[in-house]
Amino acid sequence: MKIHEYQGKELFDQWGITTVSGAVCRSVDEALNAYDHLGLSRAVVKAQVLTGGRGKAGGVKIAKNREELALIAASILGMDIKGYIVDRILVAAAVDIAAEYYFSFVVDRNAKSVVMIMSRDGGVEIEEVAAKNPERIHKIPIFPFVGVPDFLARKAASILFDDWNHIVQAKEMIKKLYRLMVDTDASLVEINPLVISKSGELLALDAKINFDDNAMYRRPEIEKLFEPTPEEEKELDAKAKGFSFVQLQGEIGCMVNGAGLAMATMDLIKLYGGTPANFLDIGGSSNPNKVVEAMKLLLSDTDVKVVLINIFGGITRCDDVARGLLTAFNQIKTDIPIVIRLTGTNEKEGRELLLGTPFHTAETMGEAIKKAVELSARNHVIVHQA
């Protein structure tokens, strides 16, 4: 789960991490009011979108005065950054920066722990630094039961800074940042740039925080910060029904049990020349209601020309799955061709139950997918002819 920079900064405030106060604005008027209210002179305007690379895209600008602020706010609001439309901006005092740094805590798959990552090359895309000058990036793994004692924070701070005054400020910030990570079950807490202002103060000029979805049950105050996009709403709806769903732009609607098998199904559709309309993992049961709900979801996408149902019957036997499908399709009327592939335990019995139905059946995954791709191409033609 991601949150906006301004929300991250609110959390920084709560955990005592020094950042720059600002105001979230949804219009040029609000931005001008904020400018006056905060008593700003030079101001920074930052697009609030849940994606990286804002700076490169022109979503972060400095306004020298009130007039410039109005122009910049107008230009950034409504901007499209990697498909995200900017509906709000953060207006804050521009800081006189002496130097920029990078700092983050992140869950590391390989270290199997949280690691602190820091670099004296801040304010740029850290991935580029990592690729070109890996020696300029420092990683320190954190022992989960030990956390970040004074010495470790001091060590990290002294990797970033030479001036003792900066080290002391950074040491305190690092301990608080780790506290924030643990207290909120974050999976990433990133500050880029972390700056030393010309007056010698350490400031978090950005705040990027991702949270562990699995832990949100115990962080209700964090969970409520989440603002799903319409696309994510659809995925969350699906999740509430026990599905894992991702909308794509193709023509073959997929219904598969298991995430890996669902991905493999998509891969094979492409391999055979078709296009998957979605990723849909319906999980492991043969409950007909689940199939009905899944079909509704698939058929709500008007691009879908064919539905491919790919089920591996393991613990749930194929005959039970077939019966579930039959019950479900008694409730659903559709002209869209449906290809069903059932394999696994009791597969013969399952396929026999489907004999004489309008469904196209197949024994292997390859066969099923070939058929679905073929049908989607034919359907295409029909649609074009109509």
Partner: protein, 287 residues
């Protein structure tokens, strides 16, 4: 032979009185696995389908000789359950539960490691040494004993692959589902080495997916250390960047973890990379 588990493995089921725990405890027992005890705090002294239930793992170790644990407890309690098992002297802990907070599994894994215990999972289907022991939620009947080791990040995709193998008469020594979470226990490299060391494993099937760089790391390891043939399928070639595909593990992030990079790395390491799972049996037979 097989790796990690065999017919002497004595299993305790943590969370045996839950729906999934009870169901799969019975399935495992039916398969022939030595399920010696179940744990359900507060229900010690009762019986779950003929399996004695204890309040603590310690009791199952002392009284029934349990050496391996499978965990079905709800996600909020997994950290404590893993630590309890490791503290009690359990040496292999298989965690089926999904949705475990990452910081919990980091702590639990660290503790278990310090106590000398191995973890598989969380969010995994478990493992099986066909004909000997099934410790997980896999459908036992699709497996057959043999000499191919299987390692997979995915559940049903594993079944698909194994089903193809079994249909073609290629049995499995052990098949391990390592789970799809960002932080998990035993991973490709650990298991590749175990299969390499197992005299009764002749070839290894490795099923990866997008997200993370475990496959790339495995490729480097294969090149340096594995002499047995490795067959690999990677799911998610067509998945769009920055999208979750069922598990949290399946994220393309930071220019790392794409299927293309994984395929290239494995091919360069000498693994036999296939376009579809169904190609694997023929390839194994050819070699």
């Amino acid at each position: 032979m097989s790796i990690l588990i065999d017919k002497n493995t004595k299993v305790v089921v943590q969370g045996i009185t839950g729906r999934d725990g009870g169901f799969h405890a019975a399935k495992m027992k039916e398969y022939g696995t030595k399920v010696v005890a179940g744990i359900s705090p507060g229900k010690g002294g009762t019986d779950a389908g003929g399996i004695p239930v204890y309040n603590t793992v310690r009791e199952s170790v002392e009284k029934e000789g349990a050496d391996t644990s499978i965990i079905f407890v709800p996600a909020p309690f997994v950290k404590d359950a893993v630590m309890e098992a490791a503290d009690a002297g359990i040496k292999l802990i298989i965690c089926i539960t999904e949705g475990v907070p990452t910081l919990d599994i980091i702590a639990a894994r660290h503790y278990a490691f310090a106590m000398g215990a191995k973890i598989i999972g969380p969010n995994c289907p478990g493992l099986i040494s066909p004909g000997k022991s099934l410790i997980g939620i896999m459908p036992g009947n699709i497996f057959m004993p043999g000499k191919t080791g299987v390692i997979s990040r995915s559940g049903t995709l594993t079944y698909e692959v194994v089903y193809n193998l079994t249909q073609a008469g290629i049995g499995q020594s052990t098949a391990v589902g390592i789970g799809g979470d960002p932080v998990a226990g035993l991973y490709f490299i650990d298991l590749l080495q175990m299969f390499q060391d197992d005299p009764d494993t002749d070839s290894i099937v490795m099923i990866g997916e997008i997200g993370g760089d475990a496959e790339e790391k495995a490729a480097a390891y294969i090149k340096a250390n594995i002499t047995k043939p490795v067959y690999s399928f990677i799911a998610g070639r067509t998945a769009p960047a920055d999208k979750r595909m069922g598990h949290a593990g399946a994220i393309i992030s930071s220019g790392s973890g794409s299927a293309g990079e994984k395929l290239a790395a494995l091919t360069a390491a000498g693994a036999h990379v296939v376009n579809e799972p169904a190609e694997i049996p023929a390839l194994i037979k050819k070699h």
